[in-house]
Symmetry: C2
Subunit: 150 residues, 2 copies
C-alpha cells in the first residue's frame, strides 16, 4: 500500500470478499474513519490515458473507491496552514490495490485512466453536487508529471 | 422503463452524463425520493446466470444501481398488510435501463447475472450490515421461474 504524505489525506485498505456466485467489495460504512456525512453517490469513468482535473472542493469531502479498472489519483496541497503545503501525493487504486481514498476539502485532485478498459470510480460525497463550492484549475497550472514513466 | 406493481418498490430513472474523457453516472442524492439514510455502501457482483437470493431485510432499505453489466432483480412481497401481497416484480438494470431500484424492508429480493462479463451492483444501504436483521430463504422456496425464456 502506498504511503501518503499530505496531512488529512487518508488511504484505507478495503476488503473484497470472495463468493462463488460473485464477489462482494466493501466501499464505506457510516462508522468508518473518513466518513464525513452523506450528500450524494455518483460514478465517474475515465478513459485510458485521459486526465480529469484539477478540482478543489471547498466544502465536500470525497470518498473514492475504484471497483473496476485502475485509476491514478494525484492530490496537491495548496493550504497555507498545512504541514504538507505544496506536496503532491499519487496513488493508483484498482482491484490489486483495493482501498478508499478520503480527500478532505481544500485539496486539488486530478485523476487519470490507467486500465485499458473501463476505469470506474465511486465518489461517496459528503454533500450534494454544487458547482459553487468547487474550483477548477487547468491541468498545466500545477507542475506534476503525469507520464506513466515519470 | 418497466412498470412495477409492488407497493413501496420504487424505480427511478437515472442520468448518465456524456463526457469526452469518460462519462459520469448518477446514483443517489440525499434529497432523492427513496433515500432512507446512509449506513453503508458496498458492491456485489454476480456471475452470468448465477442467482443470489432470497433475502429479506427487516430494517434496511436497499438502493440498488448497476453501473456495469446487467442484473435482473426479482422482488417478492410477503407482507400480510400489503395491497400487493404475494406479487413478484422483475426488472433488469443495466446501462440500457439505467435506474435505481429502492427496496424497503420487508420484501424478499433475489438477483441474477444477465450480462456475460462483469455484472456489478452498488447497494447504498440505509444501515450497516447486520446479519441479525436479514432473513434468508433457499431459492426454491419461492415459486419464480428464473429462466431467461420464461
Amino acid at each position: 500500500m502506498d504511503k501518503l504524505t499530505i496531512h488529512d489525506l487518508i488511504l484505507t485498505p478495503l476488503k473484497r470478499i470472495s463468493h462463488a456466485k460473485g464477489d462482494i467489495y466493501h466501499a464505506i460504512k457510516k462508522s468508518d474513519a473518513g466518513y464525513a456525512g452523506f450528500g450524494e453517490a455518483y460514478f465517474s469513468s475515465v478513459i485510458a490515458g485521459e486526465i480529469k482535473g484539477w478540482k478543489k472542493h471547498t466544502q465536500m469531502t470525497l470518498n473514492l473507491v475504484v471497483p473496476v479498472g485502475a485509476i491514478r489519483f494525484v492530490v496537491y496541497d495548496p493550504r497555507d496552514e498545512s504541514p504538507s503545503k505544496n506536496r503532491f501525493d499519487s496513488v493508483v487504486l484498482s482491484a490489486q490495490n483495493y482501498a478508499r481514498l478520503t480527500v478532505p476539502p481544500g485539496l486539488f485532485v486530478g485523476f487519470q485512466g490507467v486500465g485499458t478498459e473501463l476505469n470506474l470510480l465511486l465518489n461517496l460525497a459528503s454533500i450534494e453536487h454544487d458547482p459553487m463550492e468547487a474550483e477548477n484549475l487547468p491541468l498545466d497550472q500545477l507542475d506534476f508529471n503525469w507520464s506513466p514513466n515519470a
